[in-house]
């Protein structure tokens, strides 16, 4: 039982690590701020979520599990807001979406 749990914790940590790495690679490879926020907000959130899940399983302590859960919920609440604010601020600061962008319905032209 203890072994299975340790393996599960390991798997969750690795999966979380892969998602976080994916988010970092996305930040490097994607062409503009708007597409980069996709990688940072989604893959990053899930990566940290798997980290919290691993912590909860490794401890099996009620207060730690609740705190890990609360941490994940706060991340879900705040990550999209920061992504949204960064994208919005960039747009109004005059940062144009990359030229590959097909349509821009926010553009008043």
């Amino acid at each position: 039982m203890q072994d299975i749990l340790a393996y599960l914790v390991g798997i969750f940590l690795i999966v979380g690590g892969i998602f976080s790495l994916g988010a970092a690679i996305g930040l490097l490879r994607l062409p503009d701020l708007y597409t980069r926020m996709h990688a940072a907000s989604k893959a990053g959130t899930l990566g940290a979520g798997f980290g919290f899940l691993a912590i909860a399983l490794a401890s099996l302590d009620g207060s730690v599990i609740l705190r890990a859960f609360a941490g994940f919920v706060f991340l879900l609440l705040t990550a999209p807001i920061s992504a949204h604010l960064l994208a919005r601020a960039a747009y109004f600061a005059g940062y144009k979406p990359s030229p590959v962008t097909k349509v821009d319905e926010m553009d008043p032209k």
Partner: protein, 160 residues
């Protein structure tokens, strides 16, 4: 009744975050929760929270599923060698059915965490939500998917 339940939930959350489940700490959480509720008393109102729990759970389940799916899609996209050919970013205007601030905020947050979409801004008259998409093969289909998926569920939860 509902407010009391929320206060108890807030007290438990407080204890969870601070990490000690002592009676004193629970009472402190209860008092702080009650004060927070008092501050937002006009917004809370008399909603029928209890009857809506199944709908809230169904919304949460849909959300977790979409989050996992979207993280996978982003991961596959950024790791694929032909990323630049597949990438077709677009900013589109999504006509909002949802009316209140809480509904629009929740919808915008959920959209950001789901496959290929990111909310950028709400139009000043609150009729349009501007959404940035990573890949947008079909604009009409995308608007329909959001309207029938998250927006419909959010309206079910918020409107009586």
């Amino acid at each position: 009744m509902t407010l009391l339940l929320i206060s108890v939930l807030l007290a438990l959350t407080w204890a969870a975050i601070t990490g000690t489940f002592s009676l004193g700490n629970l009472l402190l959480g209860f008092v702080i929760g009650g004060m927070s509720l008092w501050v937002i008393r006009l917004q809370v109102g008399q909603s029928q929270l209890l009857q809506k729990i199944p709908k809230i759970i169904s919304l949460a389940a849909l959300f977790i599923y979409e989050l996992v799916l979207s993280a996978f899609k982003v991961l596959l996209l950024v790791l694929s060698p032909g990323m630049h050919k597949r990438l077709q970013p677009a900013i589109i205007a999504f006509p909002l059915q949802a009316k209140s601030d809480a509904e629009i905020t929740l919808l915008a947050n959920l959209i950001t965490l789901t496959p290929g979409t990111l909310s950028v801004d709400v139009s000043p008259d609150r009729t349009m939500l501007y959404v940035h998409a990573l890949e947008m093969p079909d604009k009409k289909k995308m608007i329909k998917d959001i309207a029938n998926g998250f927006e419909a569920k959010i309206i079910e939860v918020f409107q009586p």
